[in-house]
């Protein structure tokens, strides 16, 4: 017999996880269904910033205000995952916005930025910029210094989901919803290969760019405007301050230190294909490099290890360029399901995920007649970070040298709902460093096979999938990336293991 829930949340991105957490904290019996893994889609491919969004100041000041406020909230409830990122917004001759205009603009931004502990902006002259960062092009005319905050989005989403679990929610990953009927949802567990059902009072569509497809399963309609954002990833940090610069079209492009790497992004291009088919294009890569090389010529000497593309699920607006489309969100109450309800949470920005969840959960509570108030902004989500423990000196060898992960980290990931090797990557950062999985994939596979009792056939299949998944991000930039690393990867997995013969 299938279980009955108050709420079924569809989607395990930052928003879905936050909805599940909010519902569970308000005492609702909650089930979260995710078709792949937490932070698989848009969340896992964002810039990793709790972005205040200075560029929305003129058009959508309310978004800037909410973003800054939410950034402050996340800093409180997930303090160990958040880090301050000092930014230099560089100004060059020929840029769309000059230093004086930007100064006035940022004076306004400071008022909002205070809500999340951002320091007031500073204006730097040419010499000061070059002193602060000698790798910046000598052509620079000046810069605005300001604060943003970075976050580990994988951990943020995972810990939000685990907090929901602690409050009684049930989490099921690799479970794709195939049908939404009146008060009943059918879903397919892709790992175990079985069809399951659950009953609900309220279903929440938090599927991000997949929201239109999910709504359709219930006979409802959601419209979005999808835009693709591409990032290049460098395997090391060239400097610790982030750099914002203006691209050829006047858009802002950023170079952001993140974990052991550095992100260069992003683009904003209408995306008409399925969200499953979001790949970086050569054009986007060259566009980003053009902007970055102009501002930081030394970057030519550093090879990116991969590119990634995510899709923003924006609210539909006709007649606007991608970057001008609203970053606002909406909670839609559909009426197609009869007695039960379907709610869609769409639009917004990653930094707003908790707020979006709060509004959705308020609506759910009204429908279910619950008076519990939201507490998600009051309770912390991060506990101990046991996954990256240090070994005792010289005793144990790392599973992943680049990101310093021990076999125990892989085992810990399994306790955090990792069901595949790629899931382990999202939880531990295995395969995300300099070697892109060349020296650690097989080690993690040996550990995971034991932990999950995988059949040898499945273990080899997952090993190959992790390698191919990493390669999909390397392929678009393979020609400008490290051929040495590619030769090594083939040396290990083709030459030594002949993996393509077995999996």
């Amino acid at each position: 017999m299938e279980e009955k829930y108050d709420v079924v949340v569809i989607g395990g991105g930052s928003t879905g996880a936050a909805v599940a957490r909010d519902c569970a904290m308000r005492g609702l019996k909650t089930l979260l269904l995710e078709k792949e893994d937490f932070a698989y889609g848009t969340t896992g491919r964002c810039s990793g910033l709790l972005h205040g969004g200075p560029r929305y100041l003129l058009t959508e000041p309310e978004i800037v205000e909410a973003s800054c406020k939410e950034s402050g909230v996340i800093q409180r409830i997930a303090s160990s995952l958040v880090f301050r990122v000092p930014f230099l917004l560089l100004v060059f001759k020929g840029d769309k916005y000059g230093i004086d205009l930007l100064d006035a603009y940022f004076r306004e931004y400071d008022r909002y930025s205070r809500a999340r502990g951002g320091r007031p902006h500073t204006v730097l002259g040419r010499r000061e910029v070059l002193e602060a960062n000698p790798l910046v092009s000598r052509e620079v005319e000046g810069a605005i210094g300001f604060d943003e905050f970075g976050v580990d989005v994988f951990r943020l989403t995972l810990l939000t989901a685990l907090s929901a679990e602690k409050h009684g929610a049930k989490l099921m990953t690799h479970c794709e919803v195939v049908d939404i009927g009146s008060s009943r949802v059918r879903f397919y567990d892709k790992v175990r290969g079985r069809l399951l059902e659950a009953r609900f009072e309220v279903a929440v569509n938090a599927a991000g760019p997949w929201a239109p497809q999910v709504a359709k399963l219930a006979g409802a309609r959601v419209e979005l405007r999808l835009t693709r954002g591409t990032h290049l990833i460098y395997p090391r940090q060239l400097f610790t301050t982030a750099i914002a610069m203006q691209a050829i079209d006047g858009r802002e492009v950023m170079l952001i230190p993140h974990q052991s790497s550095m992100l260069l992004g992003t683009t904003d291009e209408d995306h008409y294909a399925s969200p499953d088919e979001a790949y970086p294009t050569r054009d986007e890569v060259m566009y980003l490099l053009q902007a970055a090389y102009r501002a930081v010529p030394a970057l030519r000497e550093v090879k990116p290890v991969r590119a990634m593309a995510g899709v923003r699920p924006l609210l539909p607006e006709w007649g606007k360029r991608e970057e001008d489309v609203t970053r606002g969100f909406r909670v839609i109450d559909h009426e197609e399901l009869g007695e039960a309800s379907l709610i869609s949470v769409v639009g917004g920005k990653m930094v707003l995920h908790r707020l979006m969840a709060e509004e959705a959960t308020d609506l759910i509570c009204r429908k279910l007649g619950t008076r519990e108030k939201c507490r998600t902004h009051l309770e912390a989500i991060d506990g101990e970070l046991s996954w990256r423990a240090e070994p005792t000196p010289r005793s144990e060898s790392y599973c992943c040298e680049c990101e310093r992960v021990l076999a125990s980290g892989v085992k810990e990931a399994v306790r955090e709902h990792a069901r595949t090797l790629v899931d382990v990557r999202r939880r531990t950062r295995i395969g995300m460093g300099l070697c892109q999985g060349v020296s650690c994939s097989y080690k993690a596979a040996l550990t995971l096979a034991g932990e999950l009792k995988l059949s040898p056939r499945e273990a080899l299949r997952q090993l190959r999938e992790l390698l191919e998944e990493r390669w999909r991000g390397r392929w678009p930039i393979a020609e400008v990336s490290s051929h040495e690393l590619t030769e090594l990867a083939h040396g290990v997995y083709s030459c030594l293991a002949a993996l393509e013969v077995y999996a």
């Binding site: 144990e396 040996l446 490290s482 997995y493 002949a498």
Partner: protein, 403 residues
Amino acid sequence: MKRATVDVAVFGGGAAGCAAAATAAMRGKSVLQVYRSLGATPLSSGMIDLLGRAPWMEGFVLKPMRELAALMEKASKHPYAIVGESSVRRGLKLALEALEPLGYEGSLEENTLLPNLIGTFKPTALYPSSFSLGSLSELAEHRAVVVGFKSLSWLNPESLAKLLSYSASRLGARASLDWRAVDFGSGGLAELAWQAEEKPLELASKLAELGYDVVGIPPVLGVREHRAVAEALAEEGVRFFEIASPPPSPPGLRLQIRLLEWARELGVQQVRGELAELEAEGKVRRCVVRVGGELVEVEAESYVLACGRFIGGGAWIRGFSVISELKYAPRMLPSSRHAALCYGVEVDELLHPKARGVAVEEAYVAGSMLGGYSYSSELSGLGVAFSTGWAAGQLASGGSIEG
């Protein structure tokens, strides 16, 4: 500028460079071998592959010399086709001579399927004798155990044993492997190898205690003293095999160290340095190397370039015509040949590279610096290195490569 005058100058310290330098030295030439740093050879597993896969075959090549003949017919620009079958035989014979102190075995007619730490078996022609009891045919005969080490916490011996048994079944063979973990030493593969050299008896007794006919261990026998460690194990009655590993791979390091030592023993003069300038048009007009902070002009009768591919750095030496483009396939491990990894220098039938459309008569190219083949998809890495290395050494010293 300092000047060095020799008969033959060899650039590259890997398998191809050492084979070329040694061959020329054996023919009585004065040889200078310049190498920048370690390349792909020490990253290898230590196995000498001749040919393990062919585009016209589903699985593995089991009779390499036979398929090689077909390959030479089908791909005229393949290095094997250029140097011919007799060079392949002479090159691999040379490898066995060079590696005699390490103990290598195998056959060019029949591949042996050997296990690795990723959990599969791969075909190879020649291999360290410390690998031999792990071959698929041997495993069918013995009750063997896969051993993990406590400090290699990622090496779950149960997973590895099951993967290897499964891979054997995929090849239509049977290998039933047990698994155990022993508490010996600390750190990763390379550290364990050093400790095995220090405490061979402790390792031997721990493996003997397991009570199995045959023990499969990760390659931790040591880098320089591995034979002594092997003897210690034999004294305790432990029959063992090493399981090939990705880098850091001690058997690959042993191979690299021995090859440089072998060339040195034959009178090759070796220096660490890098090619600073190579001007070639019809012949080599100017060749300058940087040794330490100093520039040295090298004057030789012939020059052998064996600088590797991407890892070695040979692919970045400009000025020669190359085969293939740097275009990759959307799958990392495609079933067909990988075009980008065929990238390398184009040569004529005497291994001369072309510069500005004209063959450079005094220069010879060997090893993975040669284009037209992808050693990782056909499993032919060190086989090509020794064959073309021997051929280049022969030609550079005025010899012939005709059968």
